[in-house]
């Protein structure tokens, strides 16, 4: 589904990302972990064609993302707060995203209503603009908006950060369901190792822009990751 070839990104000569080859098959839930500055967000931004690669390219469904825009209809994402429109209410925001993705109000309502317990009564019918919601609630709205319009690829950068424990658990279930039931390719990055191992079938560790580990998740994975990151700390 997503193929990365000879991809690198340099800022003023500093290499921040360098991936020779990475293949993510359709329907895989894919986790990206790494310390700050490892290149997680850079990789996602390249995937969304928000920044230009220095070398190489990414193809999504055989479409090279920096040449054609045809990947947009089946891709959705929530990277950070700049994906929210602060002066809309949550509903208006969902409808707006829905319109962009060819969904009418009824479609959007049907989808959004599935997430009532995820919202915990703090998002819908609040008569509040998104900019006035707490960080956690903003994140909830952004994540659900990324699910509108039956995307085949969903990219979530640090979705667990800022969420309360209950919501974290509910989000894990949502992500798992997406991969299992609908065959959606989900790409998630996180600093929380246990969440990622819970959710993802495969975990890639980035360090200073390079892939240093590529693990198929098993019972041992969390331990392996923990000892790896403990090790990098000591160095």
């Amino acid at each position: 589904m997503i193929t990365t070839t000879n991809l690198s990104k340099k800022y003023n000569g500093n290499q921040v990302l360098n991936i020779a080859h990475l293949e993510i098959p359709k329907g895989q839930s894919f986790g990206l972990v790494g310390n700050n500055g490892a290149g997680k967000t850079t990789y996602f931004s390249l995937l969304l064609d928000l920044i230009q690669p220095t070398t190489g390219h990414i193809t999504s469904n055989d479409i090279q993302v920096d040449l054609s825009e045809d990947w947009k209809p089946f891709t959705s994402s929530f990277i950070d707060e700049s994906f929210l429109i602060g002066y809309l209410t949550a509903e208006e925001y969902f409808y707006f995203i829905g319109e962009l993705r060819g969904q009418n109000k009824a479609d959007v309502d049907a989808l959004v209503n599935q997430f009532e317990d995820f919202f915990h009564g703090e998002i819908l019918k609040q008569k509040k603009y998104l900019r006035d919601l707490s960080k956690g609630n903003q994140k909830k709205a952004g994540i659900v908006a990324a699910l509108i319009g039956n995307p085949e690829v969903i990219i979530l950068d640090e979705p667990f950060a800022n969420l309360d424990p209950t919501t974290q658990i509910r989000l894990k279930k949502i992500i798992k369901d997406l991969g299992e039931q609908k065959g959606v390719t989900v790409l998630v990055s996180s600093h929380d190792l246990s969440h990622v191992t819970d959710v993802c079938e495969r975990i890639v560790v980035l360090e200073k822009g390079e892939v240093v580990k590529d693990i198929v998740t098993s019972g041992e994975t969390l331990k392996e990751l923990e000892s790896y990151f403990a090790g990098t700390l000591e160095v």
């Binding site: 969304l48 064609d49 928000l50 920044i51 230009q52 947009k72 209809p73 891709t75 959705s76 994402s77 990277i79 950070d80 700049s82 994906f83 929210l84 429109i85 602060g86 002066y87 809309l88 209410t89 208006e92 707006f96 995203i97 319109e99 962009l100 993705r101 060819g102 008569k127 509040k128 603009y129 900019r131 006035d132 319009g149």
Partner: protein
């Protein structure tokens, strides 16, 4: 808004330079210095009212300071001290200094003039701190602007009907301070008193849950179904309309319409301008295009806060730009219709406005959209609007001048070489040409935006 700040600076400069000869001409019998002082009362009143609506204490900036090991006293002093550097306090200087220099050249006593200038600066600062007191006291009431209106209105009435001749008293006071610097103690004491009062108010309020709390706005949801008529650009139209209505800064560009519409009254009633036809074109471009200029100069920076979202979503740049174009075009048409009453000052004016409107729709909309593709400055939608230069860069100036000057020049030359009618025809022709070529131009503009996509994303991601 950059335009308006410069506009005010120029007005004040002109006022300062021209004040002396003007007063001499209107009141040949009296001393211009004394005359000027008798007007200071009105200036103080006007200044206070304007400050009340546009100047806010920069209190939100102190949030990060609260957790630092700084004495609360220091933080409060910092906020109050910083407010003294506001644009509002510098603006009068542009008028006071040239006027003072003129006085010195006219052989007024140098020390008197210097003390006088100092007095005015102190009065400006008094206004500065008085305003914050009025604001904090009236903030609790429902109609928060009522106290200031009552206060300034009351003083004005008292003065106007000479119940208490405040302007006279004030003039005498300033006059005697100027001639005897010892009296400077009085305004300085007033200033210190106001500062201390402000200090007390602020010290008690500087907590996260009181004045530092961000206000949450009630949602005004409106059904914008009518935009559906515009087809595939409807979602963007709705977004733009909400953008305009729900954010402080773009909202002010809507209020500017009213000011802009009245702009003609500055020139048209004056018989001196009756035969200066090239001016009609300028005023026409300005009146029918004020929204276009104000709103257009910050495309696409208005959307800078969520530009990444737009760029990763399934949207067509063309629709996005078309929505902005449609909005601007409608504003021109509406403003032209609203400006029809100017026909009172002559049919030529109406004709010039019509030609200017066509030119705005056909040419200026496209020019400003092209200019937008060079826009690299982020805008924070929710910051106060007046005299906010955020997002203003060289682009706005370079684009702004041809928007206003070029049509005036084209019309002026055609008018001078041939006739008024030819001038009008040329403007209309250019406008129609732009409208005919609209699709082509939009294609070109869209390409420009696509080409600078990465640069814009990177620039909007940064806080400038």
């Amino acid at each position: 808004m950059g335009f308006f700040a410069l506009y005010f600076i120029i007005i004040f400069l002109a006022l300062g330079v021209g004040m002396f000869p003007m007063l001499k001409k209107i009141f040949p019998e009296s001393d211009p210095f004394v005359m000027f002082n008798s007007f200071i009362f009105y200036w103080i009143l006007g200044d206070l009212v304007i400050r009340f609506f546009f100047q806010k204490l920069p209190v939100m900036n102190v949030k990060p300071l609260l957790t630092l090991p700084l004495k609360r006293k220091k933080v409060v002093n910092f906020v109050l001290g910083k407010s003294a550097l506001s644009f509002f306090n510098f603006l009068p200087l542009f008028a006071i200094v040239p006027f003072g220099v003129t006085l010195i050249f006219k052989d007024y006593n140098v020390s008197v003039v210097l003390v006088w200038m100092l007095t005015i600066v102190i009065i400006t600062l008094i206004n500065n701190y008085l305003n914050f007191i009025i604001e904090s006291l009236s903030a609790k009431t429902e109609l928060s602007f009522l106290p200031i209106i009552l206060l300034s209105g009351g003083l004005f009435v008292l003065n106007h009907f000479e119940i208490i001749n405040i302007s006279e008293l004030l003039a005498v006071g300033i006059q005697s301070i100027a001639s005897n610097p010892l009296y400077l103690v009085v305004p300085v004491l007033i200033l210190v008193g106001l500062y201390i009062f402000n200090f007390k108010i602020l010290r008690d309020k500087l907590f996260l849950d009181s004045s530092l709390k961000t206000k949450t706005q009630e949602v005004h949801a409106s059904n914008l179904e009518w935009t559906k008529k515009f087809g595939d650009i409807a979602p963007f139209m709705q977004l733009d309309l909400k953008l305009l209505w729900r954010n402080k800064r773009p909202k002010s560009s809507v209020w500017m319409l009213i000011l802009g519409l009245l702009y003609g009254l500055v020139f048209y009633p004056n018989p001196e301008y009756q035969d200066k036809e090239f001016f009609f074109a300028f005023v026409g471009i300005f009146i029918t295009g004020i929204f276009l200029i104000n709103f257009g100069q910050f495309i696409p920076a208005w959307d800078s806060g969520y530009y990444k979202l737009l760029m990763s979503q399934n949207i067509k740049y063309k629709q996005y730009l078309k929505s902005k174009y449609t909005l601007m075009t409608f504003s021109v048409i509406i403003l032209f219709v609203l400006s029809i009453p100017y026909v009172y000052f002559g049919w030529k004016i109406l004709l010039a406005h019509f030609a200017a409107a066509i030119y705005n729709i056909g040419v200026n909309t496209h020019v400003i959209l092209i200019g937008g593709s060079f826009n690299r400055k982020k805008i924070n939608l929710n910051e106060r609007a007046a005299f906010n230069f955020q997002g203003t860069g060289a682009v706005q100036w370079i684009i702004g001048l041809p928007l206003l000057i070029l049509p005036m020049a084209i019309f002026g030359i055609a008018n001078w070489l041939f006739s008024f009618e030819i001038g009008i025809t040329v403007l209309i022709f250019l406008g129609v040409l732009g409208i005919v070529l609209h699709e082509k131009l939009m294609k070109f503009i869209t390409k420009k935006y696509l080409a600078s996509k990465y640069k814009m994303i990177a620039a909007f991601d940064q806080d400038n």
